[in-house]
């Protein structure tokens, strides 16, 4: 991955190694916020925003603090604090500067702190040894992949409302079956990159 081109990184993050459907990161918002396409798209936008920012900040923290002072063992604590602080900060700034965007993302922002996909992307960027540009591209592409998956999933779930589902399968089980079929579809991209 370290020497992969930008296009490879993008295609791989969105389709081949889709965070939700093949890496299983960010399952909680994927299942919880996907009842309506509108909320799913809102969540997706918030994730794109926070994930890209988190990628950048954790990259700087890793390179100029952790690696420099040989404190790599503090990585988890550091990253999670950066993400939590970042979400708070983004919330305050958006409220002040871009109230319209804030009201669109509003309730989704705090939820993202506990979204394992954000911490996951930060850890992967480090594992892959990405430089700053690749970190930004990879983080954003992963978030776009998340948005794609959650919007697809939500649009199928909306249609499902009108269907007669067996009692035992109502709620989570049928949603997971849909996720499984989506995941099968995305499996088709394996080997593309």
């Amino acid at each position: 991955m370290e020497n992969a081109g930008l296009l490879t990184i993008i295609v791989s993050a969105i389709l081949v190694n889709n965070f939700v459907l093949s890496r299983f990161l960010g399952i909680c918002p994927f299942l919880g916020m996907s009842k309506k396409v509108e909320t799913a798209a809102g969540m997706g936008m918030a994730v794109v925003f926070v994930m890209t920012m988190a990628g950048i900040f954790t990259w700087f923290a890793n390179k100029y603090l952790l690696v420099r002072f040989h404190m790599e063992y503090l990585q988890i604590v550091m990253y999670i604090l950066i993400i939590a602080a970042l979400v708070q900060f983004v919330e305050v700034v958006l409220k002040k500067m871009l109230p319209s965007l804030y009201s669109a993302l509003g309730i989704f922002l705090p939820l993202i702190t506990t979204n394992c996909a954000v911490l996951g992307v930060a850890l992967l960027n480090d594992q892959y040894n990405f430089g700053l540009l690749k970190t930004i591209v990879h983080s954003a592409a992963v978030a776009v992949g998340f948005t794609l998956a959650i919007v697809l999933f939500a649009s199928i779930r909306e249609k499902l409302e009108a269907n007669d589902v067996p009692k035992a399968f109502q709620g989570f089980p049928i949603a997971l079956i849909i996720a499984s079929l989506l995941s099968f579809a995305f499996l088709g991209f394996t080997g593309m990159v």
Binding site: F24, G26, I80, L81, Q170, P173
Partner: protein
């Protein structure tokens, strides 16, 4: 009374199958029974110790910044457990990969700190952590055993094959779609059982 704190996480309030929290590792690392047990035990240790420390420090934890404090406590124990696994069971560390540091953001652990440990004594909190952690482990064992048997036709542990069944290997069961499918079916069976109980 004390015993019920320990046991209710196992089946009645099982965090994975009943409360449906912390689903990422449930789907991601349940490709083999060995991984399932390893992940489960790592969560038991982190959950029990973080519950204990949250409970011990609750008298001087300011209410308003409790969540960041919980997160730092949890992250500390996850780091310790991660380093221990890396040192003593490197093969497990390799196969669980990124999901060891991601125990930090497992909502199960934060949920127990917030909903139980912050308002209960240290011994009760420790028991709650062990019980919930074991419930999580049980769920992981069920799902990973089903996936491993269907996917490879056998159960292997520590490099040796424990038993082998004469069934065709369905590779897709150990691939990502199989995770969603098996979890869906396990939850449906659980629903069917509890529906029948309600009717009776």
């Amino acid at each position: 009374m004390r015993l019920s704190i320990l046991t209710r996480g196992l089946i009645k309030d099982n965090p994975t199958l009943v409360q449906l929290v912390g689903m990422c590792p449930v789907l991601a690392i349940t490709t083999t029974l060995e991984n399932g047990i390893g992940m489960g035990l790592a969560v038991v240790v982190v959950l029990a110790l973080s519950n204990l420390l949250v409970s011990l420090s609750r008298s001087f934890t300011p209410e308003r910044i409790r969540i960041p404090i919980f997160v730092v406590i949890i992250a500390t124990f996850v780091t310790i457990v991660g380093l221990v696994i890396e040192a003593y069971v490197p093969s497990l560390h390799k196969s669980l990969g990124i999901f060891i540091p991601l125990i930090v953001v497992n909502c199960l652990i934060l949920a127990r700190a917030e909903a139980f440990a912050f308002s209960h004594g240290p011994i009760d909190s420790l028991l709650d952590g062990i019980g919930m952690g074991l419930g999580f482990t049980i769920a992981l064992m069920i799902i990973s055993a089903i996936r491993e048997i269907l996917g490879t036709g056998a159960i292997a542990f520590g490099g040796t094959v424990l038993f082998q069944l004469p069934i065709p290997q369905t590779i897709s069961m150990i691939l990502p779609p199989g995770a969603f499918l098996v979890l869906a079916l396990v939850l449906a069976v659980k629903n069917a059982i509890s529906n029948r109980k309600e009717e009776a």
